[in-house]
């Protein structure tokens, strides 16, 4: 049985500013080295200014993961030299003088397995290195400090995972949780990174770093377990070491030993006083904590009669659960939920599409109501949805513009049916022998009315005309 532990770094992308300075937390839109200031650049004499909301949001995460939280938090310096580190130290948290990091000893349920959280800490992200030039000799290492100082929450688990699949599940749950708490958008590039440590029965612990994505993490863990098992079978010692994930060759390789010799000389960060987080503050945060995903799911099922599968999908997605909450009322909740999961999710499947979408909760409740009251067919509703997302016009207007009004007027429909029966004489004949052909004729009516014909009414009128009663 394998033992796997994770060390996850999640950026608090929903913050406005960096952890220790007022530069923007989300650095992604900036030209290189334009989201910097004396503080995050480590200019002499500039001092770190702790972001209050970062402490609050990190505490929320700790609470959501059932962690113990301290009454005072402290920051420490991790000293090492690297070009992406402007001060050549990282401000982070430790628990060497009592428990002073943002949370410890928590837990989370991952498909019936309890995964223990060892600790959570706040720390700053370094800058980014860019390599220019293909030639080994002329290759230049360039540094962009836009990301330096971005707030990170480091979550360290106990080695409670047993399979790569559990790891993947956990990461999905964690992503959803962070998104649901409105502290992070895990979909942003680089917003969530993870390292793993893997050991098998009787073997040493091996760290795996440099894993690009969660998908790669699952692969890397799987590879590493296999590698260790194969060594064990051949009675070869599994060396305790740090390995890197080589994405090209899809294997883990031994990292240079300089990583093990790292000596960080941890000591207190004297520029940031210990921050008192009293029970009042914690209670305040607790009461304002967004509803958990599982609680939402339960509520959707019990209160609105939504099926567990639909509730699950809806509750796990913050964007759509918000849309649902705002569009639903006493009577339409189930229909709204279904419309979201059936029709809308497919249309708004990327961040860009969601950002440019003009769909509002009012649109959604209108659509559901109109369908219910037969003012528009499901097929037309789909067309309308496309338009709404594009230009945000009201449903009424779009129905006019595109002439999507429901054709449920008996006389009008009868005329169209007569037309179809005349045009499709052969089908009419065939229908008399094979009643299923009626559906083909329904289809033709729908075609003529561009989907606006009421299907049930059409079917019954057709049947009547053909003499099937």
């Amino acid at each position: 049985m394998a033992k796997i532990g994770l060390e996850i770094h999640g950026q608090l992308t929903k913050l406005e500013s960096k952890l220790f300075c007022p530069c923007k937390a989300d650095y992604r839109q900036f030209e290189p080295n334009t989201n910097i200031c004396p503080i995050c650049m480590g200019i002499p004499g500039a001092l770190p200014l702790l972001n209050r909301t970062a402490v609050e949001k990190a505490t929320l995460i700790a609470m959501a993961l059932d962690c113990k939280t301290p009454n005072k938090i402290a920051f420490f310096r991790k000293n090492y030299f690297y070009p992406d580190l402007p001060k050549n130290f990282q401000i982070t948290q430790l628990n060497v003088y009592g428990n002073t990091s943002i949370g410890w000893e928590g837990k989370i349920l991952v498909a019936d397995k309890e995964i223990r959280i060892r600790r959570i800490q706040l720390e700053e992200d370094p800058g980014r290195l860019i390599y220019e030039g293909a030639n080994e000799r002329t290759k230049v290492t360039l540094v962009d400090y836009n990301r330096a100082g971005t707030p990170l929450v480091e979550i360290v688990t106990e080695p409670d995972f047993e399979t790569p699949h559990q790891v993947r599940e956990f990461l999905n749950i964690l992503s959803d949780l962070l998104e649901n708490l409105n502290v992070s958008d895990p979909g942003l590039e680089g917003a969530m990174r993870a390292d793993a440590n893997v050991s098998i029965e009787g073997g040493s612990k091996v760290e795996i770093k440099n894993i690009g994505s969660f998908h790669d993490l699952e692969k890397a863990v799987h590879f590493e377990i296999t590698r260790q098992q194969s060594l064990a079978e051949r009675k070869i010692e599994i060396v305790q070491e740090t390995r890197h994930w080589d994405d090209g060759r899809k294997i883990t390789v031994s990292a240079r030993t300089k990583e093990e010799e790292a000596e960080y000389r941890y000591h207190l960060e004297a520029d940031i006083p210990w921050v008192r987080i009293n029970d009042d503050t914690k209670n305040q945060l607790q009461t304002h904590m967004p509803e958990s995903i599982s609680s939402k799911k339960e509520r959707y099922v019990s209160k609105y009669g939504i099926t567990p599968q639909v509730a699950d999908i809806l509750a796990s997605d913050r964007y759509f659960s918000e849309l649902f909450e705002n569009a639903k009322n006493e009577t339409n909740a189930k229909d709204v939920a279904n419309m979201i999961t059936t029709d809308i999710m497919g249309l708004l499947d990327t961040r860009e599409k969601r950002e440019t979408s003009k769909l509002s909760p009012e649109h959604l409740s209108d659509l559901v109501e109109y369908i219910k009251s037969n003012k528009i067919t499901r097929a037309s509703a789909k067309l309308a949805l496309d338009e709404i997302i594009k230009n945000g016009k009201s449903l009424e207007q779009i129905i006019n513009d595109l002439d999507l009004g429901h054709v449920s007027d008996k006389e009008e429909l009868s005329n169209i049916i007569t037309q179809v029966l005349n045009e499709e004489a052969k089908a009419v004949e065939d229908a008399k022998l094979n009643p299923e052909i009626v559906n083909f004729l329904v289809g033709k009516v729908m075609q003529k009315t561009r989907g606006k014909a009421d299907p049930e009414l059409t079917l019954s009128l057709l049947k009547k005309s053909l003499g099937f009663d």
């Binding site: 937390a25 209050r52 860019i130 290492t141 006083p273 921050v275």
Partner: protein, 91 residues
């Protein structure tokens, strides 16, 4: 720190602190002397002492607001093509 400071340790620390030393021996002697003086801390009887630290309240911390730093910081730094900072090769 009763044990003697040797050249190997000085070399290790110099590497840790990223400083190229010209004369290891001079440093060995002086560091040894100072570390010996620090041994006086052993006599201080402070094992059970609680740490006294500076504290503040969470509401005194900085508001989470984005403020653009309006000076062109790059002008004051060593830059490469006016956009990046260049680093020597990493091994």
């Amino acid at each position: 720190m009763k044990k003697l400071v040797n050249e190997e340790e000085i070399i290790h620390v110099a590497k840790l602190m990223k400083i190229e030393l010209a004369d290891y021996n001079m440093h060995i002697k002086k560091v040894q002397k100072m570390l010996e003086y620090f041994d006086i801390l052993d006599e201080a009887n402070i094992e059970s002492e609680e740490l006294i630290v500076q504290e503040t309240d969470i509401d005194k911390l900085r508001d989470d607001k984005h403020v653009i730093y309006d000076k062109k910081l790059l002008k004051f730094l060593k830059t490469y093509q006016e956009t990046y900072v260049k680093s020597p090769k990493l091994s």
